[in-house]
Symmetry: C2
Amino acid sequence: MQQRAQDTRLSVIEGAALVFAELGYGNASLTDITRRAGVTKGALYFHFTSKRDLALAVIAEQHALVLAAGAEIGGSDAPALEKIIGLCRMFGRQLIQEPIVQGGIRLTFEASAFDADVSGPYEDWIGTVEGLLGEAQAHGAVKSTVDPAAFARYLVASFTGVQMVSNVLTSREDVLLRIEQMWDFMLPAILPGISVQTPAPRTASSS
Amino acid sequence: MQQRAQDTRLSVIEGAALVFAELGYGNASLTDITRRAGVTKGALYFHFTSKRDLALAVIAEQHALVLAAGAEIGGSDAPALEKIIGLCRMFGRQLIQEPIVQGGIRLTFEASAFDADVSGPYEDWIGTVEGLLGEAQAHGAVKSTVDPAAFARYLVASFTGVQMVSNVLTSREDVLLRIEQMWDFMLPAILPGISVQTPAPRTASSS
C-alpha cells in the first residue's frame, strides 16, 4: 500500500477507536468516525466495508500495539516473572494513554454485539504468560507445584476484571494501583519458600 | 400490583433476559422479547416504556436474585471466609443455570451501550465481601495485615474477569472449575500462618 493510503487507513482506525471508546459499538456512526478521523466517507469505504469491519480492525490494531510493546519487554533480559509483571503494568499504562487500546478493549467487551470472536487475543496472552511462568519455574523463581496453564488463565482473567471494574468504578483512575494490589495478592500463591496452609473445611457451602 | 399483572411483568423480564443473553442489547428487539415472553406488545408497554427500561429491569432483577441467594448464605452460621467462598460458588452456579442472571450479566458488560450506571451492584458486592473479611479477621481466619477493602475489590474484580473469560473461551463450561482455581490462588495471600517472601522488600507480616 502507498504511504498515503496507509496513513489514511491508520487515521480512520484512530478516529474509529476514539468514537468506539466514547460511544460503544451500538451508538457509534460512520459519520462520527469520518468526522473524527478527518477523512471523507469515500476514503473510509476505500479501506473498510462496514462498521463491523472497522471494529474488527480496531481490535486487531489494539492487539498488535500491545503485542509490540509486549515483545520489547519479552525480549529484555529481565527475569521471566518480572517480565510478566512488566507486561501487566505496560498494558495498564496503555489503557490510560492509548485511544486505540481504549477503543479496542471496549469493543472486545462488546464483541458479541457484532458477532466477533475475541478468544484469540485472550489465548495469545494466556500462552505468553504460560511460557514465561514455565521459564520462571525452571529458574526456581516460581514454585514447582504451580500449574503454569491454570495460573496463566487466572492471571489474564483477573487482569481483565481488574481493569474492567476500575473502569466502571473510577473511569480507570485507579487502574495502576489496582494492578499493583493484584500482584500483592497473587505473589504469595506462586513464590517459592511459602508453605501453604489449606483452609480447614473448604467443603461446599450449605445453602 | 395484582398477581396477574405481577406474573406478566416477570414473564416479560424472563423473556427479555433470554433474548438479551442470546443477542445482546443492540441486537435484541421488542418483537423478539414479546414472542419469547408469550405476551402482547400492549402487555409489554403496560409495564415497560422502552428497551432500555427493560434492560434496567433485567439487571435489577438479576441483582435481586443473586442478593437473595446471597442473603441465605450470609445468614447461615458458617464461618465468614466460607461464606465468601460460598457466595462465589453460588454466583457461578447461577451463571450456568439462571437465564435472568445470564441476561443481567451480559447487560452489565454492555451497560455503556444504553447509558446505565452499573457501579451499584459492584459496590454492593465489594461492601458485602469487605464486611465478611473483617469478620473473618476478627476470628483470626484471615491475616490481620490484609486490607479488607483492597482484597474485597480485588476479589470482585477477579471474579468478574474469571467468569467473563470463561464465557469467551468455553461458554462458561469451565466456570466452576475456574472459580475453585481462583480460590486456590487467592487463599495463600490471606490465610494466617504463611510467611510471604517477595522479591522487593515489603512490610513483614506478623503471623
